[in-house]
C-alpha cells in the first residue's frame, strides 16, 4: 500500500525537473523534452487521482494529454527544424530576435 501523496510527490518532482530543464537548458530540443517531462508528471497525477477517486475519466484525460503532446511534438519539431534552417543553431539564447 502506497499513500497517494507519494505518487503526487513523484509527479511533482518530475514536473519540477521539467521546469528546471526549461530554465537551465540551452538546447531547444532539450527544452522541448522538458515540456514533455512536465506533461508526463501531470499525467501521473491524473492517473493517481483517477485511482484515488475511482473515476476512469482521469485516465481518459491522460489520453487527451498524450494526443495533444503528440500534436505538439509534431508541430514543435517542425518549428525547430525551421528555426535551425534559418539560424543554424539550436541554442535558444542565440534565437532571441523576433524576426529573421
Amino acid at each position: 500500500m502506497v499513500p497517494l501523496s507519494y505518487y503526487l510527490v513523484l509527479s511533482g518532482i518530475l514536473f519540477a525537473c521539467g521546469v528546471t530543464g526549461f530554465l537551465i537548458k540551452r538546447n531547444i530540443i532539450t527544452i522541448f523534452m522538458s515540456i514533455e517531462l512536465m506533461l508526463n508528471g501531470v499525467n501521473l497525477s491524473f492517473v493517481a487521482f483517477a485511482a484515488q477517486w475511482h473515476a476512469l475519466r482521469g485516465q481518459v484525460f491522460v489520453f487527451f494529454v498524450m494526443v495533444v503532446a503528440a500534436a505538439e511534438a509534431a508541430v514543435g519539431l517542425a518549428i525547430i527544424i525551421a528555426v535551425y534552417r534559418t539560424r543554424e543553431t539550436l541554442n535558444v539564447d542565440r534565437v532571441n530576435l523576433l524576426k529573421l
Binding site: L4, V9, F64
Partner: protein, 173 residues
C-alpha cells in the same frame, strides 16, 4: 510492501532519468533519459492498475514521440550544448520561483492532503470502458482533438517543408 518496493524502485529510476535529462549535455542522452522516465512511468501506471494507459504510454510516448525527437536530433546533427549566458531573469526569478512552488506543493501534499493509500491495481482501466467513455462522455473533446491533430499534421508539413522549394528568392538557411 512489494507495492512500495516496486513503486520506490521505478520512482527512483524515474527521478534519476529526469535528473539525468538535466545533467546531460548532449540532447540524445537527454532524449534517452526521457525514454527511461517514460518507461518507468508506464510501470507506475501499471501499479495503479491503468494497464491501457501504460500500454499507450509506451506505444505513443516512447515508441512514437520520443523516436521523433531522436530522429530530429539525428537529422539536425545536434551537438553538445554550449554554455551561454542568455537570461538573468531565468536565474533570478525562475529558479527561486520553481523552488518555492515545488516546496509549497510538496508541503501541502505531504502534510495537509487527506488522501489515503492506493492499492496495487487500484483502478483497472479496461480498454472497453475507456473507449466507451471516449466515444460517449468525451465525444466532443475527442472530435476536437482529432481536428487538432489534423491541423498539427498540416502545420508540421508546412513548417518543415523546405522554404526554398516554393520561394526560390527567399534566403536559404
Amino acid at each position: 510492501m512489494l507495492h512500495l518496493l516496486v513503486f520506490s524502485a521505478f520512482g527512483l529510476v524515474c527521478v534519476a532519468g529526469a535528473v539525468n535529462l538535466l545533467v546531460q549535455r548532449h540532447p540524445i542522452n537527454s532524449a534517452l533519459s526521457l525514454v527511461v522516465v517514460m518507461g518507468s512511468l508506464a510501470v507506475e501506471y501499471l501499479l495503479l492498475g491503468a494497464e491501457f494507459v501504460a500500454a499507450v504510454q509506451v506505444i505513443v510516448y516512447a515508441g512514437a514521440i520520443m523516436v521523433l525527437f531522436v530522429f530530429v536530433i539525428m537529422l539536425l546533427n545536434a551537438g553538445e550544448e554550449e554554455r551561454s549566458k542568455g537570461s538573468r531573469v531565468a536565474m533570478i526569478f525562475g529558479i527561486p520561483g520553481m523552488l518555492i512552488g515545488s516546496v509549497l506543493l510538496a508541503w501541502v501534499l505531504l502534510e495537509r492532503s487527506g488522501t489515503g493509500n492506493v492499492a496495487t491495481g487500484a483502478l483497472p482501466g479496461p480498454p472497453k470502458v475507456i473507449g466507451w467513455l471516449l466515444f460517449h462522455d468525451f465525444l466532443l473533446p475527442f472530435e476536437v482533438t482529432s481536428v487538432l491533430v489534423l491541423i498539427a499534421i498540416m502545420g508540421a508539413v508546412v513548417l518543415a517543408s523546405h522554404p526554398g522549394a516554393k520561394q526560390p528568392d527567399k534566403r536559404e538557411g
